[in-house]
């Protein structure tokens, strides 16, 4: 039986496997840096315990960077 993945594990995995440069622009203190919104199935991850959320099969996880231009 494989261990359950929580969102926090995914963040670390992304950093170690996919990020090629400047990881501090994505992760800070084992969470996302300020200004990035994490969505689980189109809902703010704050509504599901952020890094502790156990990822389910077929979940869609999205990282949104806030915009400030206008």
């Amino acid at each position: 039986m494989q261990k359950d993945w929580i969102l926090g594990d995914l963040l670390i995995w992304l950093r170690d496997n996919l990020l090629k440069e400047r990881p501090e622009l994505f992760l800070q203190d084992n969470s996302v840096r300020p200004g990035i919104l994490v969505l689980v199935n189109d809902s703010d991850w704050e509504l599901m315990d952020t890094v502790n959320y156990p990822i389910q099969s077929k979940d869609t996880i999205t990282f949104i960077s806030t915009l400030h231009g206008g």
Binding site: E24, P34, G35, D42, D44, E46, H68, G69
Partner: protein, 390 residues
């Protein structure tokens, strides 16, 4: 007659139109978002609309800031906006305020007037936190829009118990993670879409309609023409400003809080010694037989460049990419005596950074790197006024 097509709708009726007439809206920023927002609010017959902006109209604004035209160049944006809007609907009281929104100025404006809605059409992080805080303190809903490149975002903060900007984003982003429209670019209709929707949300708030975009964030992707509506967290009881025990009880210094300025202009750097730089005028005399690296991104180089220069983007230099290519380029020119390489960019900032990288990387060969001061902007100003400034 003017308003009949909106008044016959059950969502507006006579009463709704009276509400419009009795309302006061303040729009911060007469740019890509503020222009379309103001336009629709003026057309709809909002009673009083205040427009705040410190900036002047520039040619590079006109593709998206649809209230300004060629004859308005160098005029205050608020005056240009006022003239256009007044000619569209003379019944609306339009108040142009040529002012930089900061803690002192905005506090005065908001406390001296009773605005029903604040529309955030600003272009920087510091102003966004400032407007959020002043709205929470004065209990006014904030219609927030933003746009960059092909994307836009829209939401309403501090509305009927919903979250404020700080509930969702308690800490400002690191300044190096923020891209402004001057650097990243933005498409006119993308701003137009978001600015127009800001007018819609404002009208819905004023008319007391259900379905105001509070506690939700609309994500617009212009490249695939898709809208996504995502659910945000609720109001945070521990929020620093709208929580039960707020720690921010008066407006602060938002530039300091965000470690970035409350405008989207580029701040020039100065990191090299005087003998590592040449003036644009001096450079123009030697450009024809010198090795010149233009370190702008490829898309910008394709728009305009000085003949004979070689495009080698700073993004590659910074990351150490394609260094063999650069090495070959330098070695081709290699002679017994030290020779000079000139480094050029749009404003003279990335070229300084590039010089400082390159001199370390190629310290083993007899080459000296020079920054061209002020970049192509200086070249256009001092040498060739025909060279396009963007």
């Amino acid at each position: 007659m003017r308003y009949s097509r909106q008044m016959i709708m059950p969502n507006v009726r006579v009463n709704g139109q009276i509400f419009f007439k009795q309302s006061k809206v303040i729009i911060i920023g007469a740019g890509g978002l503020g222009c379309p927002a103001a336009l629709y609010l003026v057309c709809a017959g909002i009673g009083e609309i205040t427009i705040v902006d410190y900036d002047k109209v520039e040619l590079s604004n006109l593709h998206r800031q649809i209230l300004h035209s060629e004859e308005d160049l160098n005029q205050a944006k608020v005056d240009s906006a006022y003239n256009k809007l007044k000619s569209i609907n003379s019944d609306v009281k339009i108040i142009p305020i040529h002012l930089h929104a900061n803690s002192i100025t905005i506090q005065q404006l908001i406390t001296q007037n009773k605005y029903d809605v604040v529309v955030d059409g600003s272009d920087n992080v510091a102003t966004r936190y400032l407007l959020n805080d002043v709205c929470v303190m004065n209990n006014i809903p904030l219609v927030s829009g933003s746009a960059l490149q092909m994307e836009g975002q829209l939401t309403v903060y501090h509305y009927k118990g919903g979250p404020c900007y700080r509930c969702v984003f308690p800490d400002p982003p690191p300044p190096q993670a923020v891209t402004n429209c001057g650097d990243g670019g933005v498409l006119g209709p993308v701003c137009g879409t978001i600015g127009t929707l800001q007018a819609l949300e404002t009208i819905k708030i004023i008319s007391g309609s259900a379905g105001v975009l509070s506690g939700q964030l609309l994500l617009f992707d212009g490249s695939s023409t898709t809208f996504r509506n995502v659910k945000l967290r609720g109001r945070n009881p521990k929020c620093a400003i709208c929580g039960e025990n707020p720690t921010v009880t008066k407006l602060i210094d938002y530039e300091q809080f965000c470690q970035s300025s409350a405008h989207d202009k580029v701040i020039n750097i100065d990191i090299l010694e005087a003998d590592e730089q040449v003036e644009a005028k001096e450079f123009s005399k030697i450009v024809s037989n010198a090795l010149v690296l233009d370190v702008r991104p490829e898309v910008e180089y394709q728009m305009c460049s000085i003949p004979g220069t070689i495009n080698f983007p700073y993004s590659d230099i910074e990351k150490g990419h394609r260094m063999e290519k650069l090495n070959d380029l330098l070695n081709d020119k290699l002679t017994e005596v030290e020779y000079n390489v000139y480094v050029l960019c749009r404003r003279g900032n990335d070229s300084q950074r590039a010089v400082s990288c390159l001199k370390n990387r190629f310290s083993h060969i007899p080459v000296k790197f020079y920054n061209i001061k002020g970049g192509l902007h200086a070249y256009s100003r001092l040498v060739d006024p025909q060279f396009p400034v963007y």
